[in-house]
C-alpha cells in the first residue's frame, strides 16, 4: 500500500512549497488546505487514470481547476492567482511524475 501512497507524499512535497510561496502570509492554513485538496484529488486521479481511458492531461486539468477553486475559496487572492498557483504546482508534480515513471502524456 505504501508503494502507492508514496507518490501522494511526493506530490505533497512538490506542490505544497510552491503554493506556500504564493500564499506565504497564510502558510499554516495552506498546509491544511493543500493537504486536504490533494487528498481529495489524488486518489480520484489515480483511480481514473488506471481504470479509464481519459487522457492524463484532461485529468490533470480537472485537478488543476478543483484545486484552484479550493485556493480561491479558502485563501485570500483572485481566481487568476489561484489558477496560476494551481497550474504551477500541478505542472511541477506532473512533470516530475512523467520523468520518474517514464509515462508519456501523448
Amino acid at each position: 500500500m505504501m508503494a502507492m501512497f508514496q507518490y501522494f507524499f511526493y506530490t505533497l512535497l512538490m506542490e505544497l512549497p510552491v503554493v506556500t510561496v504564493f500564499y506565504s502570509n497564510e502558510w499554516k492554513k495552506i498546509l491544511i488546505i493543500g493537504f486536504l485538496l490533494n487528498l481529495f484529488t489524488w486518489p480520484l486521479l489515480t483511480l481514473l487514470y488506471f481504470y479509464t481511458d481519459i487522457h492524463l492531461l484532461f485529468l490533470e486539468l480537472g485537478v488543476l481547476i478543483i484545486e484552484a477553486i479550493g485556493f480561491r475559496i479558502f485563501l485570500v487572492g483572485s481566481l487568476k492567482k489561484a489558477l496560476l498557483v494551481s497550474f504551477l504546482a500541478n505542472s511541477l508534480s506532473l512533470f516530475v511524475a512523467v520523468l520518474l515513471n517514464g509515462i508519456s502524456i501523448l
Binding site: L36, L39, F40, L44, G70, F74, G102, I103, L106
Partner: protein
C-alpha cells in the same frame, strides 16, 4: 484571463513532445501459466507484484493486469532455506501470454522453457492445471479502490467542515 488560459493550454501541449516512452495507451492484461512447479523440489516459487509477495504452491495461471502508463511487471523466483535463485521479470507491456514450464533447478538457477503466445491465441490447457489457483487480483489498485474513494470523500467532508469553521470564525 484569456492569456493565462492560452498559456496553460500551450504549456500542456508542450508535454506532447515527449516521445519514446510507454504511453497512455490501452493494453490488455496478459496471462502467465506456471507449469510443473513440482519439479522445483524443495524450492518454493514466489511472485513479487508491486509490494505483494505471493507464494505459488501449485500450477497456476497468473494474470498481470494492464497498466495504461508505465509497464506493470512482476518478478518470479524460487527460494529455499539456503537462498534464492536468480529472478526473472515479466511485463504486460510485451502484450503476450506466456507459458513457463519448469524443469528443475541447477546451480541456483531455475531451468524452464518459456513459450510466448499472442493474446488472441487460445490459452494453453488451463483446465489441466491441478489445483489451479487462478489469481486475478486486478492489480494492486483494485484492492485499494474503496480506500481511495473513502479518502477522497473524507477529504471533501473535511474541506466542507473547514469552510464552515472559517466562515463562522470570520463572522465572530
Amino acid at each position: 484571463m484569456k492569456k493565462l488560459l492560452l498559456f496553460l493550454l500551450l504549456f500542456f501541449c508542450m508535454f506532447t513532445a515527449i516521445a519514446d516512452m510507454p504511453g497512455h495507451i490501452y493494453r490488455e492484461p496478459v496471462n502467465v501459466q506456471f507449469k510443473n512447479i513440482v519439479s522445483l523440489g524443495e524450492y518454493h516459487l514466489y511472485i513479487s507484484d508491486y509490494d505483494t509477495l505471493i507464494e505459488i504452491k501449485s500450477d497456476t495461471t497468473y494474470i498481470i493486469t494492464a497498466s495504461q502508463g508505465s509497464p506493470h511487471c512482476v518478478i518470479f523466483f524460487a527460494k529455499n532455506n539456503k537462498g534464492e535463485t536468480d529472478s526473472m521479470n515479466l511485463c504486460e507491456y510485451d502484450q503476450q501470454n506466456t507459458v513457463i514450464e519448469f524443469n528443475g533447478i541447477a546451480e541456483n538457477k531455475m531451468i524452464f522453457t518459456q513459450i510466448s503466445l499472442s493474446l488472441g491465441h487460445a490459452s494453453e490447457d488451463t483446465s489441466r492445471d491441478i489445483n489451479s489457483q487462478k489469481i486475478n487480483d486486478e492489480s494492486f489498485f483494485a484492492k485499494n479502490t474503496t480506500l481511495c474513494i473513502s479518502l477522497s470523500i473524507a477529504a471533501l467532508l473535511a474541506l466542507v467542515l473547514l469552510f464552515i469553521y472559517y466562515k463562522r470564525k470570520n463572522r465572530t
